[in-house]
Structure formats: C-alpha cells, structure tokens
Symmetry: C2
Amino acid sequence: MKLLTLTAFLSALLLAGAARAGTPALLPSWNDSPAKQAIVDFVSRAVKPGGDDFIPPAERIAVFDNDGTLWSEQPMYTQMFFTLDRIRALAPLHPEWREQEPFASVLRGDIAGALAGGVKSAFALVLAAHAGMTEDEFARIARDWFVTARHPETGRLFTDMAYQPMLEVMDYLRDNSFSVHIVSGGGGDLIRAFAEKTYGVPPENIIGSSLKTEWSDTAGEAQVFRTAEIDAINDGPAKPLAIQRDIGRRPVMAFGNSDGDLQMLQLTASGPRPGLAILIHHTDGEREWAYDRQSRTGRLDKALDEAMAKGWVVVDIAKDWNAVFGAGSN
Amino acid sequence: MKLLTLTAFLSALLLAGAARAGTPALLPSWNDSPAKQAIVDFVSRAVKPGGDDFIPPAERIAVFDNDGTLWSEQPMYTQMFFTLDRIRALAPLHPEWREQEPFASVLRGDIAGALAGGVKSAFALVLAAHAGMTEDEFARIARDWFVTARHPETGRLFTDMAYQPMLEVMDYLRDNSFSVHIVSGGGGDLIRAFAEKTYGVPPENIIGSSLKTEWSDTAGEAQVFRTAEIDAINDGPAKPLAIQRDIGRRPVMAFGNSDGDLQMLQLTASGPRPGLAILIHHTDGEREWAYDRQSRTGRLDKALDEAMAKGWVVVDIAKDWNAVFGAGSN
C-alpha cells in the first residue's frame, strides 16, 4: 500500500508538471475576474459544436480598435509622435516652415503651441508628414521609424507599448479560429507598418483612416501616390460602415476604449446574433494612464454609459490586468 | 523470374492506380499549354523554400476580377439580371414606374429600350434595385435570388456560370497558401451573396463597387442603411487604389479580362518583385461567348495590347480550357 501510494503521489506530481509545461495558463496577464470569464465563456460557447451559441469559424470575426485598446495612446497618439519626427526630418527641405505655423512651433520644440490651432493645425502637420510620396515609400519610412522610435515617458519602443493582455486575447481568438481585424481611427498604412510583427495582424485585416490616392504609371513603373487630401476619417459611425464595406459581416466580438468605438460596439452587440462588446477602461494611473470622461485623447463618456446600461464587458485595467506591458524587446 | 515480373507489373499497376486516386491531376480543366505552364511554374517557384523566387505565405496575395474572369458576363452582367428582376418584383410598390423611364420599358419587357439611355438609365435601375434597405435586408434578398435565378440563354443557375478552370485555379492557389481576393467593378455586396459558396472566397476578401451607407441605431437596433448614392465605382485605376487601401500589399498574381483590369494588372506586374499578370481572352463562341475589342460588356482592347507588349499570360479560352463550366448543381 505504501509503495502504491508513493507511486500514485509521484504520478500525480508528474502529471501536474506535464500539465503546467504542456498547457500554459489561459490569458495569463488577466486576473480571474468577471471580465476574463466573460471573454472565455463567450469563446468557449462559440466553438462548442452543436451548442446553442456555436458560431461557424468563417463567421468568427473579431474587431479591435487600436489606440488605447491594443496599445497606449497617452500623452498623445503614436501617430502624432511619428508626425512630429517626420516634420523635423523634412524641415531641411522646407526652409519656409521656419516662419510658417504650425510647423515653426514644432521646429522650436513647442508642441503645445503647434497644436493650439486644434484639429486644423494637427491635420496640416499630419498631411505634411504622410502625403506626397508613393505607398511603397511611405511603408519604408514608417517601418524604419518603428525600429527605433521610443515613447518619451517610458523609454520603451512604441511597439513595446502594446498591451500584453490584449496580445494574449488576439492569440487566444486566433487559436479558436477567430479572424482578428483592426478598425482604427488612426492611419491604416501606419498601423500596417508594425501590426503584422507586433500583433500578428496582416495588412489586409486593417481598416484605418486614409488619404486620397492617385494612380501613376509613368515609364511602366506602376505606383499608388498619396495625395495631401483626407479620404476617410475612420471614427465613430464611420467604423461600422467601413466594417460593412470591407469585411462585409457583422463582427461577433468588438473591443474598444472610447466614444469613437461606440457604434462599432453597437453593431456587434446588436443584430440577429448579439455579439460580445468589450470596453477597455483606463483606470490605472500607476502602470499606465488613468483617464475617461474628460480626456482629450481617447475620451470615454457616452460609450461608458451605454456599456453600463447594456451590460457590456468593461475591463478595469487596474483590477483586471496583472501585467500591462510585456517584457519588451530590450 | 516470371513470377517476379508479374509481381512487379501488378505493383506498378497498383501504384499507378494509387497515384491516380490519391493525386488528382493539377488543373484538370486546363489543357497542357503555355498558359497553364506559366501559372504552375510561377506557383511552384513561389512556394519553393530557399528558391530565388520564394514568396513568404503572408505575401501570396492573388486578386481576381469577377465578371468575365470568374464567371460569364454575357449578354450582360449578372448584376443587371438581378436589377431587372428586382424592378419587376418592386413594381407593385411603385405604380408611378408604369409611366416613368427607364422603369416603364423594363416593365413592358423592353430591356434594350430601358438601357437606351446609357449609363444614366442603368444607374437609375441599379440604384432602385440595390438601395433603400439595410445591409442585412439586401444580403437576404440577394442570397434568395441566387438560389433560383437562371441565365436566360443557358438555363443554368447564375452561380453555375462560374468557370470551372478558374475554380480550379483558386483551389490550387489556396492549397499553396495564397490568399484569394476578388476585386470587381460589380457591387461588392451582391458578390458576397454567393462568393463564399461558389468560389470559396469569404466576404472580407471581396472588394467591389459600393453605395454610400448611413448608420442607424434606432430603438437599440444597430443597422447599416444603403442610400441611393454611389460611393465608389471600382473599375480601372480605382482597382489598384482599392487594393492598396483594403489589402495594403501589392498582389503577386492578378487575373482579369478587360480594360477595366488594366491598372490592377500593371500594379501586379510592376514593383520591386514583379508578379504574374493573366488575361482571360474570350475566344470561344461555341462553348461561351467570343468578344474583345468591340464588346460593350467586358471590352478588351488596351489591356490586350499591353499584355502582348509585356509578355503577360493571355489565356485563350478556346485553346486553353478543355471545359468551361462545371457539371452544375442540376
């Protein structure tokens, strides 16, 4: 009996070890809270063959906002940091910028002053940084920038400002045959420069804001040229419309963090087969930034009210995530 | 020796049988011609690890025009047949159409008369048939139509007017980890109603012409509403621009059949890693329709000249395909 007990004990130990080694914990950066449970429950029901809530793999469309949902967006959007760096890099080609706002302020290092003109100033800077080149050239510039550009407050590469718990959610969904799409208010081509490597999301699964483009086929060299004119700002109600146009199906899961995601969440939570709508609420001023109703960037007000009223999942970063960022590349 | 010889002979027979059963012929509806060889060569080189022409799976984007490339487009686009059927179905709700062109001609059965007004008349009909409903409603209407609608000359279901050799190409490409996309001048949502079942192409891989849409969230029922205003006509230079916006990569293979596909083929054949551009030339008046430079629908003129000049693959249906249509559903 003693021998048998010892054997059983050793076997149990071995089995537990194997389980630990072979089956990593599900969503390890998430605490065992109702938010995590809601996500796991939804996915488990979606993939259960014959279950009432089974969703055929082809219909398992999950959409994610980017800024503030997949990576941080404070103190300002990463795209704005990219923009300012481009303005500085292009300045030698534009001597007139020394006298011309909002460029002059940027070159003096007065970012607040540069942006004091509001949306109009920001657009002027963004257009100067993003337009007037081919798509191939822009892709190269953007990819190069992400190799070295760092967040001024954390010192981390911007691509290391991705939220570890969200990387785990995207992997978990793909492991369960969900198709993961990004639907962002940011420029789609800038996201494409890093999303495949950082998020595992390929270019064709990214919808973002866009510039008008022109076709050019001079000397047999076909190129798509980026003009300095906005084509679409992919925010608010534009998100569900773009989802319909480009994906052509109602998503079954949607993740957002601001009022700009409200309609995308409504689209997902509504319809013949209501999907799961999830809001990331930035509550953690220690490990990240705490902001919601009063924030200029990523304001979360109406969508928070609607989430409360409709029982959507609200992720409280301080309580629900045991890690915010991953180890990082260096 | 005799026994051994017999055994060897029987083994060889068995092996040959197994090969026949286990390894179906590649692209069986294609004759062994240079066109087939060019496609097979390109794919074989693309998937050969370590080869000079290896293409990483994520970059294996293949784009296909739809009308005249994946299914027939004569004597007029399938979308026009759908449109006329919808006008007839909606007529009881629109008594004014009895007096109003181009509707009155359609209802009298005078299609040529209805279309005599050119693009303007055609658009009026298309808008009346496609707009004024939610995306969910349109999807239902379109799916229902394809279940029973038949081509007036062949009597086949429209979905059985798909070209068998092209179905084989799409399967062959997917088997080799290519991602297959449709980039059509036709309405994207109409294609989505049948493409997954007929072509194996999911809604998110379809780019087509589109209507402007509006967001509606009345009584908590979120819907995308189709307005009677054209958003984009996805033809000619618009194709490469839409590919850049929605797919975000230069395709490595492109299939088209008309001048409306020229720029998409140029985009694919150009660039840092020239891809394979393929034109389907409608040369078979017996089994299908023969047309090119003078055709109103699917005119192939400039693109044919460019294909000749640049050595693109030109598929001669009469010579290169041993079957045009499949067995069909009934």
